[in-house]
């Protein structure tokens, strides 16, 4: 017989495979999911992740089409390539889901997150905090004689970096929105 001109499959892990499921490298993916903004839809998405043991690194949701009652959920997740494929297929199966886009593989995209940082301190530390905020293009949205609230937008990495710098300067509280992302171009 002529060899079949098809690349042969390899087994993937399952609960019944005793190999180490972490053997394959994990990847970070950003998924954009368009859903009907109906009661319980977020619970369905979150329940899918918790019920099937997938990771959620970040999740944001808001109605983006008020007339059509559609929301966009942006999920950042990590998993092996097979798990990422499963996540997308499982999301696609949810009845109020219209579309699932994997922004990580569908071409270049932009990701932004907004964060608020409260930094307390006086003297040199306070000045240094203000100087760094300037470098990071963070805005001061509240200030007292002993504290600032900075607003910063950027990639999650940029926000992480800013947080690291603020820590020794009196960072006492922070709030982050999670990632919002769009594909570049048209």
């Amino acid at each position: 017989m002529a060899p079949l001109n098809i690349q042969q499959g390899t087994s993937r892990h399952s609960a019944y495979d005793l190999r180490d499921p972490n053997a394959e490298a994990s990847e970070r993916h950003t998924l954009a999911v368009t859903v009907d903004n109906e009661a319980g839809v977020l619970a369905r998405v979150i329940g899918l992740f918790s019920g099937r043991g997938y990771n959620i690194d970040s999740l944001t949701v808001a109605e983006v089409d008020h007339a059509g009652h559609k929301s966009r959920i942006t999920i950042v997740t990590t998993g092996t390539p097979a798990v990422i494929e499963q996540i997308k297929a499982q999301l696609g199966r949810i009845v109020p889901v219209y579309e699932v886009h994997d922004l990580t593989v569908e071409g270049p995209s932009v990701e932004r997150e907004l964060a608020l940082f409260k930094v307390t301190g006086t003297g040199e530390k306070r000045v240094e905090a203000l100087r760094l905020a300037d470098i990071f293009r963070a805005n001061v949205v509240d200030s007292t004689l002993e504290s600032f609230v900075f607003e910063i937008t950027g990639t999650p990495q940029k926000i992480d970096a800013f947080g690291e710098l603020m820590r020794p300067l009196g960072l006492c509280e922070m709030a982050r929105t999670g990632v919002a992302a769009l594909a570049r171009g048209n």
Partner: protein
């Protein structure tokens, strides 16, 4: 058609417009307005069950034996929570159900009101979709969409939670056409390109096999016909999962029998050694694959499934085809025919010779006995005495008896075999047989049961008697939770922890107490006459078949083992499952 009516009336109207003629339910405070509407009409028959779990399994039996969705009506709180096992069962086995539950009035939701439960919250993970309807104007539309979701794509259960004030309130009724389907439209046509690659592979394959499942049956009669045509035309061997039995006839010459954990030797070895596996409407479940790493190591795998999430879930396949089985098989056959109906005839001969050699192992053999009824013998006799009945429907409970039924009974047509596959729900079969008999009043409906499972929903005998449903409860009574015991003997050194019942009822008296007929049989010599008596009786029967207590079910692929590593009998079981395999179920 739009007109004002109360929510309760809309429920009944919507069911009528969906062509529903029977529903299974149990009343309570939160559904009284709907029950009041049911009382005032005659188009829809309501079957009063004895427990809401029974209502759901009965609706599953109805659905699987007719191809139509089953409909369930339960009250709020305990009514809904009792239904959860059945709903989960239907989800796992892709059975279309529409479950209507009552809810406390909207203004009490969240107050821990009497008989309030977060029904949509509880059932979210075990339904295909669910809705809480707070607006009477949305009620009819939601019910119609519920039917659409339950029956299209991969079928499954939906639940619609209806607060009591919505049942009383007036709203505008819309019919099914006006309600529309929303945006839920799963893709049914497979990718032509990939189908053509599969045809190419079929033309040259040396050791091909069809591996089919419940998806063929769910796809409908056309899918079954096309599958049969394809198998006959190609001459390829075919095996099936538990859920797919009957799609290809057991008497067909290419039939290898069921595969999987308790599947036939020849079916499992053919799966292991094949070079082309064509999976049609099955999902590489762990009962089928055994150890994933060693699953059919040298084959090209094609997978036809309507659910994209089934593809590459546990087994990576080479040719994924997302679509409805009937649509895909139609294209597959057409393309294969148009390219000259080619198969690798030369290679198929030795492949069949190999399969025939495996068959000589006679993997279902057992040691017969003249003193005690062997469970396998009981099923062989049941088969011999009922095989001629085209209208025979078989339900089962869960356990050894279920696997023996799958091994020893032959199914010639789809939709004649109802068993709890994915969830493995003890207590499924008795109520399922009620639902099947409601759908087919003249048919022969037999529930092959284990005594343990049967007791879990035995209250439904009351339903059978009330509606004069002549269901035959064929209990293979080994006075043991046989399947648990079998695992304990394999895995836990024969320490039979809580795997037998000390106080079983007298099943004959129990039958009589329900107003049914009871028959007991313990002597193999009397078995044929006793079965004949059961079949001749025009009414429900409990048949207490006292069988060998310690018989184990073979062949068996122990957890964590490969397909070509099967146990064929008790002699093979010594140390069969290692410590790693023991953690699996």
């Amino acid at each position: 058609m739009t007109q004002p009516m109360t929510g309760a009336k809309m429920v009944v109207q919507a069911l009528k417009d969906q062509g529903v003629d029977v529903i299974f339910g149990y009343p309570g405070g939160a559904v009284l307005p709907i029950y009041d509407e049911l009382y005032q009409q005659t188009d829809i028959q309501h079957i009063l069950v004895r427990h809401e779990q029974g209502a759901v399994h009965a609706a599953e039996g109805y659905a699987r034996s007719t191809g139509k969705p089953g409909v369930v009506l339960v009250t709020s709180g305990p009514g809904a929570t009792n239904a959860v096992t059945g709903i989960t069962d239907a989800l796992m086995d892709s059975i279309p159900l529409v479950v209507l539950s009552g809810q406390v009035p909207t203004f009490l939701i969240g107050n821990d009101a009497f008989q309030e439960a977060d029904t949509v919250g509880i059932t979210r993970p075990c339904t295909k979709h669910n809705w809480l309807v707070k607006d009477p104007d949305k009620l009819a539309e939601t019910i119609h969409q519920g039917f659409h979701v339950a029956t299209s794509g991969r079928p499954g259960p939906v639940l619609i939670d209806i607060p009591k004030d919505v049942q009383f309130a007036e709203g505008t009724y819309v019919g099914p056409v006006k309600a529309g389907h929303g945006h839920y439209h799963p893709k049914v046509k497979g990718d032509r390109e990939t189908i053509t690659r599969l045809v190419e592979a079929m033309e040259t394959a040396e050791r091909p096999i069809f591996y089919t499942g419940g998806g063929v049956i769910n796809s409908g009669d056309a899918a079954t016909q096309l599958l049969r045509e394809l198998v006959e035309a190609t001459g390829f061997p075919i095996t099936s999962t538990l859920m797919g039995l009957g799609a290809y006839p057991a008497s067909g010459k290419n039939w290898l029998g069921m595969l999987g954990m308790h599947g036939l030797y020849e079916a499992n070895l053919a799966m292991h050694d094949c070079d082309l596996m064509i999976c049609v409407g099955a999902r590489f479940d762990d009962r089928i694959t055994g150890r994933v790493a060693d699953f059919s190591p040298n084959s090209i795998k094609a997978h036809i499934d309507i659910d994209a999430s089934s593809i590459n879930k546990t087994i990576h396949v080479d040719l994924p085809i997302i679509g409805d089985v009937a649509h895909v098989l139609e294209d597959l056959l057409r393309i294969w025919k148009s390219r000259g109906r080619k198969v690798n005839k030369e290679a198929l001969k030795p492949w069949w010779a190999q399969i025939d050699e495996w068959k000589t192992v006679d993997c279902l053999r057992y040691t017969p006995s003249a003193q005690t009824i062997k469970p396998q013998y009981a099923l062989q006799r049941l088969e011999a005495l009922t095989r001629h009945r085209k209208d025979r429907f078989i339900c089962t409970e869960v356990g050894q008896h279920q696997m023996w039924a799958a091994q020893f009974l032959g199914f010639e047509a789809p939709n004649h075999w109802m068993t709890s596959g994915g969830l493995g729900t003890m207590g499924y079969g008795m109520p399922a047989s009620v639902g099947v008999q409601v759908a087919h009043p003249e048919a022969l409906v037999i529930n092959v049961a284990g005594e343990g499972s049967w007791l879990m929903n035995m209250q439904e005998m009351g339903t059978a008697v009330q509606y004069r449903l002549p269901v035959k409860q064929f209990i293979l009574n080994n006075e043991r939770l046989g399947m648990v015991r079998q695992w304990q003997s394999l895995l836990h050194g024969g320490r039979y922890s809580h795997s037998w019942s000390e106080a079983l009822p007298d099943f004959v008296k129990l039958a009589e107490a329900f107003g049914a007929k009871g028959i007991q049989c313990s002597d193999p010599a009397d078995l044929d006459d006793a079965i004949a008596e059961m079949l001749a009786y025009d009414g429900p029967v409990i048949f207490d078949c006292l069988v060998e207590k310690h018989e184990n079910c073979f062949p068996m692929i122990p957890s964590g083992r490969a397909h070509n590593d099967m146990l064929l009998g008790d002699a093979d079981t010594e140390g069969a499952i290692g410590t790693k395999g023991a953690v699996l179920v």
